[in-house]
């Protein structure tokens, strides 16, 4: 069951975390309930997310060679532990399907209108299954390879939006006009769970990271930078679309970039956004699928490569069946899922793990 040893370098971790955080969050309308203060909400959520990830890391350093599932089994025992691992498997699979659906919605409403969604879902999940089948290192190297390209595209898009001058920073006012409540309700539960809390899936591979001393720095910078990019996108979206239009848009970043016209040469840049979405979601879905497969490995002793293709097919089907309409998808994804699925899996169970591990260690002494 032990496969070839590989280590996750700090650079790879950095790239993976940034792409993971941007995945779907950069295009979907996150934090829009805070209106013109969405960027404040995102910035605050980044700080909280950074703390949350620090907590996950602390959990990991309690047993440095253990992954999430081994920690669960260690602290909850054989039967309850297996049950919780099964819950995580379903959870990761479910989130993978949700995220994949974000991408499918974008593709089928903005690019390939007439292509059946099944074809899109299966071709996408086959690529991911193939990546996982080649080994976890491939996911990391894919992320590492695409990272500079994605950062370059985002930088160019930001610059073009700024050069185009079709924005009014005036739309960002009034700052905190309705008090802190709208911002807080945007942060909790939506923003800290999506995208930052979803980093819990990193616990599945965190024990591969080396050298351990630089993990903290790499991950902190990654979360900070991804939060900066997300907040920056929110600022540009609000300034160029206005609050109401941003709130109405299904993919506000796409709409913002669509209008950019620079020198009659840089036009119709939305395909660049679709590409950013494609790569970031590729990374995100493959990490979640890898998490689910690792859980299956723990539960049923099936090597994760063997299960990669069938489980990827399952994720593709789930992503289609998860919602009948776009409205159902976004409503569930942004109101129901954070409260009733993300919070228990990202906060409550890790907290329980932390307490049990602490108690166990104290008893050992």
């Amino acid at each position: 069951m032990k496969e070839a040893k590989f280590v996750v370098s700090p650079v790879q971790l950095f790239a993976v975390i940034i792409l993971f955080d941007l995945g779907s969050a950069i295009v979907m309308n996150v934090g829009s309930s805070a209106k013109q203060n969405a960027w404040i909400a995102i910035a605050a959520a980044t700080v909280i997310g950074w703390g949350l990830f620090g907590f996950y890391r602390m959990l990991q350093t309690r047993q440095p060679s253990y992954d999430l599932f081994e920690l669960v089994r260690l602290s909850f025992g054989r039967w309850l532990g297996s049950f919780i691992i099964a819950m995580y498997v379903v959870y990761f699979l479910y989130v993978a399907a949700r995220v994949m659906r974000d991408f499918l919605e974008l593709i089928s409403s903005a690019v390939l209108e007439n292509t059946p969604i099944e074809v899109l879902a299966f071709s996408f999940s086959m690529v991911i299954a193939y990546m996982i089948w080649l080994g976890f290192g491939v996911i990391l190297r894919t992320a590492e390879f695409f990272f500079p390209i994605i950062m370059g595209i985002i930088l160019v898009l930001f610059l073009l939006i700024l050069i185009d001058r079709d924005y009014q920073f005036f739309y960002l006012k009034p700052v905190l006009g309705d008090g802190l409540m709208p911002v807080l309700s945007a942060i909790f539960p939506t923003l800290i769970t999506f995208p930052f809390g979803e980093l819990i899936v990193c616990l599945v591979f965190m024990h591969y990271t080396a050298p351990a001393s630089r993990v903290g720095k790499a991950s902190s910078f990654a979360i900070g930078i991804s939060g900066l990019i997300l907040a920056g996108t929110a600022v540009l979206e609000t300034a160029s679309l206005g609050v109401q239009m941003k709130e109405r848009a299904n993919f506000p970043f796409l709409v913002t970039v669509r209008d950019v016209s620079f020198g009659y040469f840089f036009e119709r840049m939305e395909m660049a956004v679709v590409f950013v979405m494609l790569i970031t979601i590729l990374v995100k879905v493959s990490l979640f699928l890898f998490g689910a497969l690792k859980g299956i490995e723990h539960l049923f002793r099936v090597p994760y490569r063997t299960a990669a293709f069938p489980i990827a097919c399952l994720a593709a089907i789930f992503s289609i069946k998860i919602a009948d309409t776009f409205a159902e998808h976004t409503l569930e994804g942004l109101s129901f899922v954070p409260m009733f699925i993300h919070i228990p899996m990202q906060l409550i169970i890790p907290l329980a793990l932390f307490i049990i591990l602490g108690v166990k260690r104290a008893r050992h002494r």
């Binding site: 409403s109 903005a110 690019v111 390939l112 209108e113 007439n114 292509t115 059946p116 074809v119 071709s123 079709d166 005036f170 006012k173 009034p174 006009g177 679309l241 206005g242 109401q244 239009m245 109405r248 709409v255 669509r258 209008d259 016209s261």
Partner: protein, 408 residues
Amino acid sequence: MIGRMVRQMAIVLILGMLSLVGAGCWDMRSANEYVIVSSMSVTTGDGANYHVYLQMINALEFASSRATGSTPTYSIDAEGNTMDEAFGRIERKTARKLELSHMMLLILDAKLLATDKGLLFFEFLESMKDIRNDIQLVVSHRVAASEFSKLYFPEIRVSTVKLRRGLDSVEANWGGSPNTNLKQFIAAITSEGRQPVMSSVTMKLPSKQQQSVDAGKSTDSPTELVIDGTAVMRRAKLVGFLNTEETRDLLWIQDRIKDTSLTVQCGEDQYAQIRIGRSTTQLNVDYIDNRPKVKISINVEGAVSENQCESIRLSKISGFEQIRKLTEKAIQSHVEATVAKVQKKYGVDIFGFGEKLMGDHYQTFKIVKSHWDDEFVKAEVAVDVQAAIMRDGMISENLFRDIPGQSE
């Protein structure tokens, strides 16, 4: 060995099938299935809500080797209760699909904007992925919107392009048109502190001749396109028009003036012309004693381009001082008059004072936002103009002074 070959062949076969199936033929588009739409004119229909005229490009005329001198654009119309229904009917007439992403102008008939359902189809415009947000909106003033899709001008053969360039140039060089694209219009119509405007266009002497390619054979074109100012709206309804001079005041308040030129009177039937090259406006809106208090500070920089006045000698410091005062007065009184006219006659805040109040004094604005337009009517507006007129062409002294017997 053989087993391996079979496996390899199987992989090649599977990959081939996958690329066939997965290649995405569903969204294949080829150019000859499409006809390019350049503009869209909408008016009320007889049998349905909307009557749509589309101006389409006859692409063959633009391929230099295959141009035959026939018309470069043509117009096809249909009615529909939804915009997409009308488009569908037009598609049945053209026998091709409509390529909407190059549409640059949406011309709305004044008749349509008088009804309640005038702008319901904007939902389609906003959510349709092919229609870009930078499509310009204009209102046809005094003529039917459909007329604009049928014109031919020899210098720019697609009349939509001529109109669009005209709008851009009038706004940039004179400040006479409040160019509004779809995004800006939607931002204004959904704003709590501002009412939307659009450019207004009209035609002098609409004629059948201008609808023919033969119009290019005459040096005197019978019909003229005129960009004549602003259409003032109350949400989705048209309430009136402002002429180009008043439009400039609107743009002045909104800090959108780039270049303009001002005629000031400096004596009995004597005028001077000032070219403004730079202008910035600062807006201050507050709410004091139950009425909004608006302070508009305009800073302009310019030069005298023509001075017909005997009394003003631009070789002296006092001459520039006089011109400066006249300019400031002219701008100030004109801007004040325009605001007063909009307050009295239309009663809608097209200037965005409410938005400014919202940005700076949000708590106050929350109290008055439900009836902001009534508050706007009560607003006390003070305009303060600072002009810097620095030079006057190559020769400062007026030549008329040297004509014997002309001056004192």
